[in-house]
Amino acid sequence: MTEMPTPPARGCGATPVLKERGQREVFCGLTGIIWLHRKMQDAFFLVVGSRTCAHLLQSAAGVMIFAEPRFATAILEESDLAGMADAQDELDREVARLLERRPDIRQLFLVGSCPSEVIKLDLAKAAERLTQAHAPHVRVLNYSGSGIETTFTEGEDACLASMVPILPEAQAKELLLVGALPDVVEDQALALLHAMGIERVRCLPARRADDAPGVGEGTVYALTQPFLGETHAALTRRGARHIPAPLPFGEEGTTAWLAAIATEFGVDPERFEAATAAPRARARKAVAAATATLSGKRIFFFPDSQLEIPLARFLTRECGMEAVEVATPFLHRDIVGPDLDLLPEGPVIAEGQDVDLQLDRARAARPDLTVCGLGLANPLEAEGLATKWAVELVFTPVHFYEQAGDLAELFARPLRRRARLRVEAAE
């Protein structure tokens, strides 16, 4: 294909990884419900957990937009912990009540939590039983979003992976895009692919239950998110084939991602050029607006969403930043290998976390910008370190050409704000 990205003389593919094990300052997988329930418009997410789970969802969502959102928590009480048979009965009762009140629901996810995992509440069995009880109108699935098994975006991975086994069988050669993207971004991707002449494209997750894609040996799939390791494995088990590529962040990442798909589908180079030339130029121009602020600045990533490696690649190669440390909760080489190869050698690549030790490293390095969770951001700002909330990167549309400028701007804004303010914070 035309203009594949040129790898650096030495990338991070062979860099030894600093593996840490200590206190982790991260969300659990339940958090994914916040964006998943918006994406799947006829799905309901029922967390089986504690008051803590309910409180997390509410706090992570930040604002309460809906009177009765399409997620809720079945809070386990003392009586449920005493006898297991009761908990299953109670679950049946709550689900029946819920589905009666919400006839618009077609898919119900029973989401496991730390307490439900520890007491070994069998949600798979419950999902099976409830599917039978409420078929054909409602399909009941289950996955774990628990903090003892999942970290933040792994919740989406677990959710999508739970859907793969029940997708209908399909034989035709078809492209599947995997990862929950905002509708507007997904539509942009589909338009680009259509412009290249790839017409048969399906998405996982689908917006509605009836639109669920088929999967089989003819399916080839491209991941739009780096954290979909389980889903990747589940699709492979169904005979589908992965198209490895850098992730579609920034102009370069998007072009490389599209080019890998174009190669798979034998798209003519001229047609590829015709489809991508204009949006590529727009993306370059938009990114350039933020590059002036970002160029030469040093960036430090705390582990959060697993987007860290592709984003570090974007920020170093397209925005001129220097990465000091790039930490990720988990490193899936199968998926982020191409990004890792493009990331110029230099930064510490870390997997896992010991938050106090990592804070010591960040304080010693004094980066210009630190990407971290909401619990750390203000304390670091108070120590004079500019920060970018990592959570915004998964709540905001950041993929593909038309968002490349917005993505760069997310990192530039904290720096521009610091430069603009003429008041010292009072002590």
Binding site: R24, T52, H55, L56, S59, A67, E68, R97, N378
Partner: protein, 519 residues
């Protein structure tokens, strides 16, 4: 098992965090999985704290469950003490760790640390955040405070303020200055801003001021019994309650003098003519019991409102709340079910809500203005300016808080005067409602909701019963009613028609209903 959509209170260990984070020199070692670290952001984001909460989470994972989570706890505990050098630690378990029964208290005690180790037993599957804070503060006091010689001058402790409290920062400052004006010095204010060393000398005070019964009552009772310190029972919210509080303090500290009321403006502002329009405004109150009970008195006696309904989410205080509701002649609503609160507010159709951030959302949906008077909190509840709600300055703040959400007196008259003017856009609504007409008032139908969300919410289902049909002339007449009372006029008329079994609503029905509901 109980289905919950939104919660008023977090789990009890978040209450313990509110005590630990409010204090200095105290560290909390919490046996908990990684997801529980979300609680840090409550403090760093909502309260804009510039330091991480002093909490070490063990963040055990599934793989640790089969090996040794207890070891993980011991290491976390030793590391935290070495790194943060606290004067004392509190140790406990979150909901998940409670299930694996590692006994953090016993393990921490066995480490032989040279600082006090205070073990917390917070039953996560029975109790909630306020209990957690109350119990934690009580345990800290019980472990550290001892009877000692009283100060020569009259002094008191101020009890109950925590991190993430509703206006605690400014309330403590205001009451401290009120007490200073009376010649009473504050010995220790705790838990907020106190150290374990401060807790040790609480016994020097002559009495305690209990500002927040939800989070300080257990400690106050213990101090009464063990340290011989009586405590105040009036929460000084509003003019009347502040005066009662002053009287209580003077009874406990005979040398105390009367404070100055020179800066108190509420009584005159409320008496001034522009406030006439506040008369009989129907308000619905919901929040923690202490704030609701105190605010209901302010609403009725100091603002001239009518209490149309009141309730609280903390069952521990159901009894005093019910008693207060009875005095106001309304049914008490004691529930932590957000949808039930929404239904009650919709049914009462108040002109204003005095509630929490949760009721502010209800108000937005129903097109009813809302003043926030209680936790749970939001970043907006930490204003940069000084804004107590207790004491005399607090009463001034409350006047503003309760008036601002309403259409102002003069503005209301002007809207009325110009409502038939062709240039006046009825649909625009008053400026402070964000340029949009209150939704429920217009067609009286469902509150707006984001388009992507399919129907099925609670607000769509209020018209379940048989509703009389509006005749065209009556509908035209209804449109002439100012939009800010149109919703109520419509509901009243329909209720009136339903009571009488009318199937149609005419212009006459509209005015008969108006006469019927006139006060």
């Amino acid at each position: 098992m109980k289905l919950s959509v939104w919660t008023y209170e977090g789990p009890p260990h978040v209450g313990a965090m509110r005590v630990a984070t409010g204090m200095r020199g105290l560290h909390y070692v919490l046996h908990a999985p990684q997801g529980d670290t979300y609680a840090d952001l409550l403090f760093t984001m909502i309260e804009r704290r510039d330091r991480r909460p002093p909490v070490t989470y063990t963040t055990f994972q599934a793989q640790d469950l089969s090996s040794d989570t207890a070891d993980l706890f011991r290491t976390a505990c030793e590391d935290a003490v070495a790194r943060f050098e606290p004067q004392a630690i509190i140790v406990g378990a979150s909901c998940t760790a409670e299930l694996i029964q590692d006994d953090p208290g016993g393990m921490a005690a066995a480490l032989g640390l040279d600082i006090p180790v205070i073990a917390l037993e917070l039953p996560s599957y029975q109790r909630k955040e306020n209990f957690g804070a109350d119990e934690t503060f009580y345990q800290v006091v019980r472990h550290l405070a001892r009877p000692m010689e009283r100060t020569a001058r009259p002094t008191c402790n101020i009890l109950g303020a925590t991190a993430l409290g509703f206006r605690h920062r400014d309330d403590v400052a205001e009451i401290t200055s009120l007490l200073a004006d009376m010649g009473v010095e504050v010995n220790v204010a705790a838990p907020k801003d106190a150290t374990p060393e401060d807790i040790r000398v609480m016994g020097r005070a002559h009495f305690n001021v209990l500002l927040y019964p939800e989070t300080g009552e257990a400690a106050a009772r213990w101090c009464e019994k063990e340290l011989g310190q009586p405590y105040t029972s009036t929460v000084p919210i509003g003019v009347g309650a502040t005066r009662d509080f002053v009287a209580e303090v003077r009874a406990l500290a005979p040398g105390a003098t009367a404070p100055s009321e020179a800066a108190l403006r509420l009584p005159w502002y409320s008496a001034s003519v522009d406030s006439t329009y506040l008369t009989g405004k129907r308000v619905f109150l919901f929040g923690d019991a202490t704030h609701v009970i105190a605010m209901a008195r302010v609403a009725r006696d100091e603002m001239g409102f009518e209490v149309a309904g009141m309730g609280c989410y903390n069952r521990e205080f159901a009894r005093p709340l019910r008693k207060a509701a009875k005095e106001h002649g309304v049914e008490a609503l004691v529930t932590d079910d957000y949808l039930e609160v929404e239904r009650a507010i919709e049914a009462a159709a108040p002109e204003m809500i005095m509630g929490t951030q949760m009721e502010r959302h209800i108000g937005k949906r129903l097109g009813i203005p809302c003043a926030v008077i209680s936790a749970p909190v939001h970043v907006q509840d930490y204003p940069a300016r000084y804004s107590p709600i207790m004491g005399f300055e607090g009463a001034n703040v409350l006047f503003d808080t309760l008036v601002h959400p309403l259409v102002m007196g003069l503005e209301e008259h002007l809207l009325h005067m110009f409502r038939d003017d062709f240039e006046f856009s009825d649909a625009a609504g008053p400026s402070h409602h964000g340029g949009r007409a209150p939704a429920a008032a217009g067609a009286g139908g469902a509150a707006p909701r984001p388009q992507a969300d399919p129907p099925g919410g609670i607000s769509e289902r209020v018209t379940d019963g048989d509703v009389a049909v509006w005749l065209e002339a009556a509908e035209r007449e209804l449109k002439k009613v100012p939009f800010f009372v149109r919703g109520k006029a419509k509901r009243n008329t329909e209720a009136y028609a339903a009571e009488r079994g009318l199937s149609q609503i005419s212009v006459d029905t509209l005015y008969e209903a108006k006469a019927h509901y006139a006060r």
